[in-house]
Point group: C2
Chain length 335, copies 2
Amino acid sequence: MSIAIHDPTLRDGNHAVSHTLSLEDIASYCRAVDGCGLSVVEVGHGNGLGASSLQLGLARYKDSEMLETARANLTHSRLGIHMIPGFARLSDIDTALQIGVDVLRIASHCTEASLTESYIEHARSKGAYVQGVLMMTHMASPETLLEEALKQQGYGANALVLMDSAGHFDPDSTREKIGLLVRELAIPVGFHGHNNLGLAVANSLAAAQAGATIIDGCMRGFGAGAGNTQLEVLCAVLERYKFETGVKVFDLCRAVESLEDFAPVRTPTVVKTANLISGLYGVCSGFEKHVARAAAEFRVEPRKIYEELARCNAVAGQEDLIISVASRLSQPVVA
Amino acid sequence: MSIAIHDPTLRDGNHAVSHTLSLEDIASYCRAVDGCGLSVVEVGHGNGLGASSLQLGLARYKDSEMLETARANLTHSRLGIHMIPGFARLSDIDTALQIGVDVLRIASHCTEASLTESYIEHARSKGAYVQGVLMMTHMASPETLLEEALKQQGYGANALVLMDSAGHFDPDSTREKIGLLVRELAIPVGFHGHNNLGLAVANSLAAAQAGATIIDGCMRGFGAGAGNTQLEVLCAVLERYKFETGVKVFDLCRAVESLEDFAPVRTPTVVKTANLISGLYGVCSGFEKHVARAAAEFRVEPRKIYEELARCNAVAGQEDLIISVASRLSQPVVA
């Protein structure tokens, strides 16, 4: 079975450094991995096109600057972006296509696929290759995910990606959800994991065994929260299980080693207890730095904030809720 | 199902810092985790009692100093040691028991259980609780492991632990090997994982599902090479799968957070490419620092050293082979 490896190191990894990846980081990463056989290199603000804001975090560079830099340094791998309608606008699609982006991921919360309709249709009308994405997919049953995925397929998506945005999946739930979509959809299915429970590689392997043919991995696991599935490890494990990724694992290892000054090497991605707790409660990985700041400011245990955010079913875009939750928890309860 | 969590942070982790853990590190770690419900805290040189040497690496402190420090700071968890006959001597057992060690792990390479006979028998004759340990168990078939395990059971071992010393296992091979031992042995079976392929948590879960009732984990994954199964993540995942570990996960998380100055927090454990390659080739995790030194000294790519060590079936105790391999590889081949 063939698996296309999709690499969002330069997008999801931007969460890990509060969206401050430099243009030099982007250029050197693209040059280092371009010959290694990765299908797609994805670039941008952690929350995708148009997401730079006070609410989500300000990016150091404009989307167009990041994409043009990557475009100039990629010859073999395709260039990808992530976008969430609401943060992104329709016109961002046109800009991305003008710069030469090859793969558009258009994403919504797992129960809100209808928000992607006009975006997927617009991109497809321009002849673009589009992957529909459902995020925070631990929050919906396999059947609900299938309904939402069928909508994105109906809008014209060329493939469908399930994201375990909170790192809450385990191999059993991964197999169940991916397996149902693979059986029922007419388009390829992908999986994007986070490592909060130390299971990202195992979940990705389970996804591949259940028929997923697009799998995400980030160099050294660089990504929001506990980080993503570790790219070079993922490729090696898939190869061992006889999947054909087209990735030259030892070349990729050399590329990783050549990037000594790159952020994930300087500040390694580990599963900190806050990430573990976030994963257990099923809270969006992108909240990590916001929760840490609010916990320090209001002197509240991060665990209590995560617990309350889970109770509120908070999702990306509701970062202001983190502050109000922390503020409320810091008040003495009046009996 | 009940699982006893065995924590070798202060023993396997000593590999990660070239056996330089301080007595303060040992004392503060023991105090921090003592109330968290861990079954055993294991302490010592990375290769166990008596292993401090030029060949394996000199420890900063004597075994007795490390063990007495731990003993003085553990009330709830039992105190454990690891020993490999040849590095350790019979008299080390007596010393350990005099200091008050509760759990003796007596280990051999996976096909050399007979080397543990007199040690296990001596320890059992003193009334000690003994776990037989087989190391580098990816190098033998399930049937061979069973033969060797039956020997250690015959010598009187109270339990039998399989170590994936090279981090080469995957969930399928873990299930197969652990499952056979659980079915055929009369004593409890344990599993000790390394994370070279990013699968340590998944393998440990597979071991528990196959009937293992002793599982090893190290705080933040601190251990040789890519590190061990991450302790706090392991406990959370086992709890989610309804295993009873007796570990209070949030207390353990707080203990981890309280150890800001402890080595694994200062120098995080990540899967570096050398660790990934080592795991793919099935080379002992304890070789990492020796290989890195030899690669630098002789200007040879670490991958080539790992490849050659795998071809030689090198095991712990053959660290001098690393230098001769590196030296040989650095010579131009004469046609």
